[in-house]
């Protein structure tokens, strides 16, 4: 038996050239419609756009949550304002993306007379000076954002708070997971609901 040239393994009835010939052929041929039905595609697109527009936030994302952190949940939070961001983990302390402290052996450090984080203090001082130079005459608000893991012991956060307080940062926003229930100007309005 000689060598056989490979051909369609499907029956000719089902392969594409035969199908095309059958559809367009002179005997019993039908007009081939090549138009896609786009109605369902547009329906899906419309739904996606409506959803995305309804969840669109003009302010954007104020902070990126550290991958090592699982934020606690709260349902009566306020809208986040832009301030310096401090991230507290069991490993260390990060201020605006730069590591400014190490939390190793924190339990021993607590016995020390001053357990403030020196690098964090100097960085906070720079932020404070910058604010005062840029906003002459405006009182320094001392605002800062803290994000910490929900399972962390308060000791880690306390050390950061202690450092913050030494540099005059006393107004703190603790980042939580959950949609903001209040805006600062809603205070009086929400009183009436009580």
């Amino acid at each position: 038996m000689g060598i056989v040239k490979p051909e369609y393994h499907l029956r000719s009835k089902f392969d594409l050239p035969s199908f095309r010939d059958r559809m367009l052929g002179p005997i019993g041929g039908r007009k081939l419609s090549a138009e896609l039905n786009l109605t369902s595609l547009i329906d899906v697109f419309s739904v996606i756009i409506l959803f995305l527009v309804s969840t669109f936030s003009a302010t954007g994302q104020i902070l990126l949550v550290n991958k090592d952190i699982k934020l606690p949940k709260a349902s009566h939070g306020y809208v986040l304002k832009r301030s310096p961001i401090v991230t507290v983990t069991e490993k260390g302390v990060i201020l605006e993306g730069a590591t400014v402290g190490d939390n190793k052996d924190i339990e021993e450090k607590i016995e020390e007379a001053d357990w403030a984080l020196p690098r964090m203090r100097s960085q906070l001082k720079i932020f404070k000076n910058f604010f005062e130079e840029a906003n002459a005459g405006v009182p320094f608000p001392g605002e800062v954002i803290i994000q910490a893991d929900k399972g962390i012991e308060f000791l880690y956060v306390k050390r950061v708070m202690f450092t913050l307080l030494q540099e005059g940062y006393a107004s703190i926003d603790l980042v939580v997971n959950g949609e903001a229930a209040y805006r600062p100007e809603m205070g009086a309005e929400s009183d009436a609901n009580l």
Partner: protein
């Protein structure tokens, strides 16, 4: 001579429409904010590693005026109002989403006509951060929105 009839195009050209939709979807997806984050505002009192010291400034003044106080410990939390106190175990508090705290604060406000919004929250070193947030969240729910945090050993 008969006029030649032109075919009526009865279908809309949807291609530009789909182009616009695709562009919009890409833009909205790229700028979407998926994390719903908010902030729980607090004021710092003293977080001295030794037992609480009276700090100077506004927070100290508020601390004196505050009539409600809560102490958060690793296994429980104790609520203080003038002349009464209530201890809630951590398990109980977590099980009902810290709502017992809001109830206590609401009772304090209603029974004595409290118009102040300050609460002192004293937190022990070993307390879990989630408990602090849960407590503060419940005070915010009943409009005690000036929360002064004190650290204690």
């Amino acid at each position: 001579m008969a006029r030649k009839r032109r075919d009526i195009v009865d279908n809309l050209n949807l291609v530009p429409f789909i182009d616009l939709f695709s562009t919009l979807i890409i833009f909205l997806l790229a700028t979407a904010v998926w994390d719903q984050l908010s902030a729980v505002p607090i004021q710092l009192g003293s977080t001295d590693q030794k037992k609480v010291e009276m700090p100077s400034g506004t927070a100290a003044a508020k601390r004196i005026q505050a009539e409600l106080k809560v102490t958060i410990e690793p296994t429980s939390m104790v609520l203080f109002d003038k002349g009464r106190s209530k201890r809630i175990s951590r398990e109980e508090a977590v099980a009902n989403n810290f709502e017992a705290i809001a109830e206590f604060a609401k009772e304090a406000r209603e029974s004595r006509g409290l118009d102040k919004r300050e609460v002192v929250v004293e937190v022990s070193d070993k307390a879990i951060y989630e408990d602090l947030i849960g407590t503060v969240d419940q005070f915010l729910a009943v409009n005690f929105d000036q929360l002064i945090i004190l650290g204690a050993m």
